[in-house]
């Protein structure tokens, strides 16, 4: 499961704990409480906690599927040293940063523009909102197969259209265009989701402030800068964090369409881990890559969070 904020976006993003009710109607219940939690807890221990501990342990081993469970050998920090010297890993890191760095801001900014536009009175507004949201609920394979054919360099609909302007990118057949093609798909798939999140935030925007600004004769850009944008900041942080995690961890589309190619032009870090683990069966090394990636993404998320919060305080 792709993991985002554990609670409602606004609450987490402002960093304030949700308002807890005082303990009215709660009485010490001893074993009963534990019994209510037990079914979920046992499952979480079995299918999440044990695998989590295993992946951390495996990261410090040299282990190949072929050698069987007896073949596990602890090798200390060897995997991490190897990662630091692995050009394949660093290539993947660069590609991932490029992919995330372009697709996430683009999705958020376009999502904001679209959300603002969809907040106006429009003919058939409900249908329009649903249309933009549609890509978000359709499975990766159906979407991937469709875009693969749409972006066929010779006869796909995309290049038929671009032909009017005299451009014809090679898309998934070209090592220069494969990553941009994935970015186009990510933006197309994410914009509607962002716009809907922004839309629900816009509907909570402080109405009196706009009236006051109208009286002061503020223009619409001023109003956006001074009122809308600051009030949307928690939502923006939430979306940025969610999209960063999603874009850096997903490998399904790449496994389906490009297998990391042409060459290694779309071998992002998550695909690199998938390849190491499930094509070469180097489980120890793959676990170490997974762990490093997780920590890297965590740092990236925290940096985004802090940078935005800093700006919020500054304003």
């Amino acid at each position: 499961m792709t993991v985002a904020a554990p609670s409602a976006p606004v609450q987490t993003a402002t960093g304030q704990p949700p308002a807890e009710q005082p303990g009215r109607g709660i009485k010490p219940s001893g074993w009963t409480g534990l019994a209510f939690i037990a079914p979920n807890l046992l499952g979480v221990i079995a299918f999440t906690l044990i695998p989590l501990i295993s992946v951390i342990a495996l990261a410090f081993t040299d282990w190949n599927l072929v050698s069987g469970l007896g073949g596990i050998e602890f090798n200390g920090l060897d995997n991490f040293i190897a990662i630091a010297r692995d050009p394949g890993f660093w290539n993947a890191v660069g590609l991932t940063l490029l992919y995330v760095g372009v697709s996430v801001p683009l999705t958020v900014v376009l999502g904001l523009a679209l959300g603002t536009a969809l907040n106006r009175p429009l003919p058939g507004r409900g249908v329009l909102r649903a249309i933009f949201f549609l890509p978000y609920i359709v499975n990766t394979v159906a979407i991937g197969m469709t875009w693969l054919m749409l972006m066929n360099p010779k006869s796909g609909l995309v290049n038929q259209t671009l032909d009017i302007f005299g451009i014809s990118p090679g898309w998934f057949a070209s090592s220069h265009w494969a990553l941009p093609a994935l970015i186009v798909m990510a933006v197309w798939g994410g914009v509607g989701y962002c716009s809907l999140i922004y839309l629900s935030a816009l509907q909570d925007a402080p109405g009196q402030l706009y009236e006051a600004a109208d009286i002061d004769g503020a223009g619409s850009w001023m109003k956006f800068r001074a009122i809308t944008w600051p009030s949307l900041l928690p939502t923006t942080i939430f979306l940025a964090v969610t999209l960063i995690i999603g874009a850096s961890q997903g490998f399904g589309l790449i496994a389906l369409i490009t297998s990391g190619g042409p060459g290694d032009s779309t071998t992002t870090i998550s695909y690199y881990m998938y390849q190491t683990g499930f094509q070469f069966y180097r489980f120890g090394y793959a676990s170490a890559i997974g762990l490093v990636t997780f920590l890297g993404v965590l740092v990236l998320t925290l940096v985004t969070w802090r940078a935005q919060r800093g700006r919020a305080l500054h304003d």
Binding site: T2, P6, Q21, F36, T48, L52, P123, L128
Partner: protein
């Protein structure tokens, strides 16, 4: 009755923004229109220039082949439905009870346990694929639907969602019921559970869509075609060299979208609320 100038201006502004947005909307919809159009075409016509949006004649045979042909996706459709059903039912039961206990019951170690849950929530599923692969092989569940169902039945995120809701509920009901001699189970099942219906349905929708669309987990944990779920089986119509049969692949894709689309259209408002308030895909 004639419109005032102000109303006329508002109506004009509506179209002034409406027309470009509808053009953009149709452009966004184009891939789906292409999918639908191609699903009704013979393979040779798929890449015709210029694009023919309404296939003539419509090749309904494609759907027949996809549904009842030798590479039918129907068994995979059934498996996906079974997996989704069990996952949703399991997650709703275990998450509702655990979320309720975290919010409305007190017992030793509750807060420490909750912290553990919080820490687990930030772990991406992809990180757990390697150990789960090994683990399910040891348990003899690798390449069975159980490998997909079991982890989905016990989720930390579902528990959070339910806890958030139960925490916001007033305690007076419980006090009153307790004085009338109700058991803890009765307080949960008769008083608080019915209140939670909107949140439960939201979680149910999320869990269903996630399960139905999941591709990465079965890609790793399922290997034999007899166990394929629907997303995996959409590649049935791609040959060894990787060339795609466009008509059949698109017909199968349309079939795979229909259940989610039905849920979306029928429960649209609740669906969007579920998606926008949790950020889970």
């Amino acid at each position: 009755m004639t419109k005032t100038p102000r109303q006329q201006q508002a109506a004009r502004a509506k179209w002034y923004w409406g027309i470009p947005l509808w053009i953009l909307g149709l452009a966004f919809l184009a891939p789906f229109a292409w999918m639908l159009s191609t699903s009704l075409k013979q393979d040779v016509d798929a890449f015709q220039v210029p694009m023919q949006w309404i296939p003539d004649p419509a090749q309904w045979e494609n759907f027949k082949t996809v549904l009842v042909g030798p590479d039918s996706v129907l068994p995979a459709f059934g498996r996906s439905a079974l997996v989704a059903l069990l996952r949703v039912a399991g997650e709703l039961i275990t998450a509702t009870m655990a979320g309720y206990a975290f919010a409305r019951m007190s017992f030793r170690g509750r807060d420490k346990l909750f912290l553990l849950y919080l820490a687990t929530a930030i772990i991406p599923a992809q990180l757990l694929l390697v150990p789960r692969f090994i683990y399910f092989q040891k348990l003899g569940l690798y390449d069975t639907l159980w490998a997909l169902i079991l982890p989905g039945m016990f989720t930390v995120l579902g528990t959070f969602l339910m806890r958030q809701f139960f925490v916001s509920q007033p305690g007076e009901f419980a006090e009153a019921a307790r004085m009338d001699g109700a058991s803890e189970w009765q307080i949960f099942s008769r008083i608080y559970l019915p209140q939670a219906a909107p949140v439960i349905s939201a979680l149910g929708i999320l869990a269903f869509v996630w399960s139905w669309n999941d591709y990465e987990t079965p890609l790793v944990l399922i290997s034999s075609p007899e166990q394929y779920t629907l997303p995996l089986s959409l590649t049935n119509f791609v040959d060894e060299q990787g060339s795609i049969a466009p008509g059949l692949t698109m017909a199968a894709s349309v079939v795979s979208i229909v259940p989610v689309l039905i849920v979306f259209v029928v429960l649209q408002r609740r669906f969007i609320a579920a998606m926008t308030h949790t950020g889970i895909k």
